[in-house]
Point group: C2
Chain length 495, copies 2
């Protein structure tokens, strides 16, 4: 994509520039407000060669914007908290809420190159990174966000001229480090790699705009007109009914999974006392695997899904008791609040993804999208159908990019057993807090949930993140199976 971009004719004098930029700034200001009203989030990415003018260009774009409606993210080395998270984590948490603009001066692209190039098998890992980036941008775009990406291109000679000019000025000399010169000397080597990265990530939902940045004024004007054109096109597409993510989603293939028709008690059962003994004997192994995960910096996610009263709380308490409290978090999931609603539905979960070596236990999870949100019509059919593939992509990316694990439990109980537990809760003053009217209402939709659960298990039972069904009519046997699953999963993960 970088070839034939540079042209000697593209020169804009200062006077022409000043005359041309004023109406563009005004227009962009108006468009920012329109997008705020229409609650469309906008992501503008500015990438390019070193010294191509990324800082100056973003500053010039900002001039036109209401400072209360945008955030500028200057992406440099990750902080220590970012370094211990999945690669895309620091970008996910920076995605703008509805109606805001996020400007990225450098982005996941620069970071992907500099992170992956240090690895011995970088071509392979860069390939994986490209898939993850495309998935990420597609998901954000399908959710209604607009992504505008710029690459500022200058030739090697021009870069050299700019470095030398900066070195002469004492105010900018410190900017030109030996590392930068080193990158400059590898310009020709980097060229095909960058070109390939751009080409592979030049998608319909997030196309690249590669600009000749030899003349800075020309580049800035070009950025302005491109942003304005893209924003206007989005508005006219909307008016004519073209909405992002509205294409019928491709459902992932079904992977059959054995649910417990007829036997809601695990094959191995034990009495309460027997189970407690087994559990206590598993404690040492839990402590051992947790400390190994910690030492090897492997993160682990444990997801609990299941009908009301299926035993999520009891299972989690049991696991937590055996863990070093410094190394895990329990994330209880309920209805999203206003801030969370103004973001992509995965945003609030990814925010809570574990640091390396840590364990995050989700009490309910992103699967709410294809369970309660589907059954209660909180999202469109299109949205929940799209979610299967989005979730599979997200889980796969997490596993591959961190080397971590995901254990997903579906706690299966029978309708009769649920009723028995509901009644017990209702009648026990110490347990009444556990049961709400909503639980009874959910129970009325048993059949609809049944269908949703089947679809969920079959469409998201993937190799990197398989489901484990726990037959939970017998509470104590279920806990044993849960803990055994966790320890044996971790043993494999540690192999």
């Amino acid at each position: 994509m970088l070839k034939n971009v540079i042209s000697p004719k593209k020169i804009t004098g200062v006077e022409t520039f000043n005359k041309k930029i004023a109406p563009l700034q005004e227009r962009l200001g108006v468009l920012q407000r329109t997008f705020r009203e229409k609650k469309i989030p906008v992501i503008i990415v500015v990438e390019g060669w070193d010294a191509a003018g990324i800082t100056r260009s973003t500053k010039m774009v900002i001039r036109a914007l209401d400072p209360r409606g945008f955030t500028l993210h200057t992406i440099e080395q990750p902080t220590d908290n970012e370094r211990v998270r999945p690669f895309m984590w620091r970008f996910w948490i920076r995605m703008p809420p509805k109606g805001r603009i996020a400007l990225f001066a450098r982005s996941w692209y620069s970071r992907a190159i500099s992170a992956e190039m240090q690895k011995p098998s970088w071509t392979k890992s860069l390939k994986g990174r490209i898939i993850a980036i495309n998935n990420f941008e597609r998901q954000i775009s399908d959710d209604g966000a607009l992504i505008i990406k710029f690459f500022l291109h200058i030739e090697k000679d021009e870069q050299k001229r700019r470095f030398e000019k900066r070195e002469k000025d004492p105010l900018t000399a410190w900017l030109v480090s030996p590392e930068l010169w080193n990158l400059h000397h590898h310009y020709d080597l980097s060229f095909p790699i960058v070109d390939n990265l751009l080409e592979k990530t030049d998608t319909k939902y997030a196309p690249w705009h590669v600009l000749d940045a030899t003349d800075e004024n020309y580049a800035v004007l070009n950025i302005y007109t491109t942003i304005i054109k893209t924003l206007e096109k989005t508005l006219s597409d909307q008016t004519s009914g073209k909405i992002p993510g509205s294409a019928a989603p491709q459902l992932p293939q079904k992977n059959p999974i054995k649910r417990s028709a007829g036997h809601l008690v695990p094959e191995k059962t034990c009495t309460k006392e027997g189970c407690q003994q087994v559990l206590d004997s598993l404690q040492t192994e839990m402590i051992r695997v947790q400390s190994l995960l910690f030492k090897r910096k492997i993160p682990l996610i444990i997801v609990f899904e299941g009908r009301d009263a299926a035993g999520k709380g009891g299972n989690i308490t049991r696991i937590a008791r055996y863990l070093n409290p410094r190394g895990y978090d329990v994330i209880p999931v309920s209805a999203p609040d206003a801030t969370e609603k103004s973001h992509h539905y995965l945003w609030r979960f990814i925010k809570n993804f574990p640091k390396e070596g840590h364990i995050a236990i989700f009490d309910r999870s992103w699967y709410g999208r294809v369970l309660v949100e589907r059954v209660e019509n909180y999202c469109t059919k299109n949205e929940w159908q799209r979610a299967y593939g989005e979730i599979n992509d997200m889980e796969a990316d997490y596993v591959y990019s961190t080397g971590g694990g995901i254990i997903k439990f579906w706690l299966e109980i029978s309708k009769d057993e649920q009723l028995r537990r509901f009644e017990q809760r209702r009648d026990d003053p110490l347990k009444q807090w556990k049961i709400t009217d909503e639980d009874w209402r959910n129970r009325e939709n048993w059949a609809q949930y049944e269908k949703a659960v089947d679809d969920m298990l079959e469409r998201t039972n993937t190799k990197p993140a398989p489901w484990t069904v726990i037959e939970s009519d017998d509470k104590w046997s279920a806990r044993v199976k849960t803990i055994e699953t966790v320890t044996s999963y971790c043993q494999k993960l540690l192999e």
Copy 2:
């Protein structure tokens, strides 16, 4: 407080322990749920000498708790993001929402000692820290949170025995660093300092429980019974109508401040063109002071308050245009969302306090408590009256602990000028988005706001954080005065 705590009689055997702990755990579990229902946040702090058993004790407390209802915070060295924030920032952001429990294994106490002791004038700075800690705990407590603090006490000989025991076990040997031995050798020197810190922070709202931790079982049982007693006393106090923060607050003294009776145009005025020229000439100075603040790692907060249409947006845009976008954030403040509402009212603002060397511009601020929340009865009279002192304390602590600055602007406009601007907005299709029904409603309460503004300016016009009134009927002259105030304030700050 540490004297006469140790007693050789306090020994609890394993069997007695097991028999005693079970009912306490059950009771604590029930109390956790009650506090969740009553939406009372609980903060439990465990401090003590090294090797006194802080980790083991917190682990034992956690055993009794529903893991979905508490968070454990292990406080060690600050991360790089925490290091560049005000000292109390990392603790403020960890305060639990209503109904949750936050456990601190070590806390602001350990950090205060280790941070302040490195300074040459540590006795003075530790004194300042104690004031800040007491203010912090009082504010949290007045807001309805319960604070339970433990100090685990062991004697020097016992500490030595424990260090040596740990050194012998290959699994724990790495825990005993040369720094720890160094601290051990300074035990006698530290004793009066720690004792003094405990005494000075042993308050009615957050008393210390100093425990003999020579026998670990005894200490754990003591922690359990103390927590249970405190929780139960809080419930019975509530039933009998004793509510934290219900005492009539002491209002800070009034500091007279000149508001612009009669002249709502600054003394110096200029035409639009003249003003623009002055503004452009101030640009260089703005850039200069920003880069100096950045180099010297001094943070700056700029607060804009003012009636609707007083010109907050225009002023902020103008300042922002002159700043390096990497070094500032604009924080637009509107009604709090559900998560924010479940926290102390200052929480969402302190979260956004600037990093060292950075500038945070607040478009409306914590002063909403004594303006809109007072006028619209969103909080009680007691609460907004308490806020003056709380805000003064918070601002003073920020200034003293970071060496940073706060510039507070009140944009004053006349009732006639507001009407003119409202009508202009209403009639201009490009500006209609700026005006809402709420603005008209607020206008009807003009006189009530007038009273609230007077009180706010007079009671929070403090030496560390004074107000500047900007007469804003003339938009352009107002902008000049704003920017001039910022640059001259920064010049003084940098002296």
